[in-house]
Subunit: 343 residues, 2 copies
């Protein structure tokens, strides 16, 4: 019953260039036997990279794109003048139905703008969101929005809850994901009107999700709930604060171990422990930013991605497309709207 999927890839997006994309494709073709890949970017460069790997020959098609979106390009600029870029072309193939999903390691803001413009938003959802998978003491938690929007109304927070819950269900495989709204206290009367309003709507919703209520910042790492819902401003600050804290702890740890274990031995142990730590802790390492709410599947691999994380992003995007996550989101959102008493 599963249709053959085609992945559209922006090969020029990441800091490391298209080399890591090709390396990721060598992994992906083995894991996904029936999938085709369209590679957008500089034809000469891509052809030279692919020439070394005959295995990729029948699975990968190059589509020449002369332009490239830079990390510092403003989304509005890319929307006006970016039609020849590898990013634009990658999204356009999904729009034209040639591919079902797109992956890019490029400029996040530009990718969201191009994807919104090209693909449009799922029926019933007012704004897309970027979700990330956060490592926790109990496993993994989906956190969204981590930066697609600057704020969020109560309706948008409900959208995020529906999208995050669908993601946790179909991708993380949880039967009844618990959902919490990020707030400054767990009591019902705390917080902004938006979070209180969204909580009231979710409490009344009839869905497979288990609405937990409010959670606080430290509940993310505790893994108190499976899905943490927040506006894009708060989510982005929380994500980057966590990254900064992890790095700070790493520094202190190195200092403390180097002192307590006498120089080199301590330093050696510290760097091995820190390596494990860093891999486990970078919330973006496994897949990157998952764009939810678009008519099409788009995954943003982080800019500093290597072949391993680009391959993870491809896996994630393929899982989402296979599970047809967007149909779940549409159905769930409709069911919540239907259960609301009109004001």
């Amino acid at each position: 019953m599963s249709r053959a999927l085609t992945v559209s890839i922006d090969a020029m997006g990441g800091d490391a260039g298209p080399g890591i994309v090709v390396a990721a494709l060598l992994k992906a073709i083995q894991r996904h036997a029936d999938v085709q890949f369209l590679l957008h970017g500089d034809e000469a460069q891509l052809a030279a990279l692919l020439a070394k790997h005959t295995k990729l020959k029948n699975r990968v098609t190059i589509r020449h794109a002369p332009g490239r979106v830079a990390m510092e390009d403003k989304p509005s600029h890319v929307l006006r003048r970016g039609k020849d870029t590898s990013m634009w072309r990658a999204i356009d193939c999904v729009k034209q139905g040639e591919a079902q999903l797109a992956v890019s390691a490029g400029n996040t803001g530009a990718l969201m703008a191009v994807a919104m413009f090209g693909l449009g938003i799922i029926e019933g959802i007012s704004r897309p969101a970027i979700a990330t998978i956060w490592p926790t003491m109990r496993g993994q938690t989906v956190v969204l929005d981590v930066g697609a929007n600057v704020g969020a109304t109560e309706e948008q927070l409900v959208d995020f809850a529906v999208m995050g819950e669908a993601f946790a269900r179909v991708i993380l495989g949880l039967e009844h994901p618990t959902v919490g709204i990020l707030n400054v206290g767990s009591e019902e009367q705390k917080g902004s009107d938006a979070v209180k309003g969204a909580a009231a709507m979710l409490r009344g919703a009839k869905l497979p999700m288990a609405f937990h209520g409010f959670v606080e910042g430290d509940d993310i790492a505790k893994g108190t709930v499976d899905v943490v819902v927040t506006d894009g401003f708060t989510g982005n600050v929380a994500l980057k604060t966590a990254e900064g804290t992890a790095r700070l702890v790493g520094l202190y740890l190195r200092q403390s171990l180097t002192r307590s274990l006498f120089g080199r031995v301590g330093a050696l142990i510290a760097s091995s422990a820190l390596k494990t730590l860093r891999r486990k802790l970078d919330p973006r390492a496994s897949a990157g930013g998952i764009f939810l709410g678009l008519n099409g599947v788009v995954v943003k691999c982080h800019g500093g991605a290597d072949a391993v994380s680009f391959a993870s992003a491809l896996d994630m995007a393929l899982d989402m497309a296979k599970a047809d996550i967007n149909s779940r989101i549409t159905a769930d959102r409709r069911s919540i709207s239907a259960s609301q008493v009109p004001a």
Copy 2:
């Protein structure tokens, strides 16, 4: 020229009870030879604790307060019915001029409500804020607001910048503290209207502060600026997310060291490293929440405080009162308002 100061203490506020307050006083009387202390709480209990320490006899006066604010009490409830509590009485002594500063380890929301009601807000400031000192790679950074308010207008963010900068100058001893506004990107066009408006006001301000512009979540731990300004919702989430992350990293570290150093040796080293880490990292360990913007100095020691951190809170509050931080804040805020072109 320094007047003799009196500190008003809520002795019943913390989880550990008044024992740690008395232990903290034994340190404080040595560090602050000319300061008097008023201790509010259960007279019998406090008298029994003080009886063991003759050194405290001439420095500490007990003021009986039959009631106690519980951690779960709502601020509105305490405002209506809390007049007999040790917290209320501690603030009331500052209001009556018997003391110049108050310290409590009790319920934060209730303490802010009682302090605002009792002391009022400094002229020119629209809302008080809670500041905290955050450990960074470069030393320490003041972050505010971390929870006094749920949101913040651009004027309020400017208030926070003025208060945080005054704090960094007079308490941390920085001549020209750098100030940044927390945002989702460092570019001028990013963020909510409130952060953009506040940045525009601060760019035009004539003050000893060096306005850096926008900073992101990971800049806090990097120590990019000396003062990070944000609304109370975002600040509270960031603070708690950092605490959660530090704890998560600690867990991973323990696992990783225990594995790599074969059982007991690893566990031993891990717990010593973690202890150092925890002390350095708990942003509240050194002093607690600093209430800025009130007519009077109030410091909130965290609920789980021990004698060391309660003594730090006393030191901090005394430093603030001695430096007359509130006069600096009033003058600076007036100077910014004067430099704005009326709309």
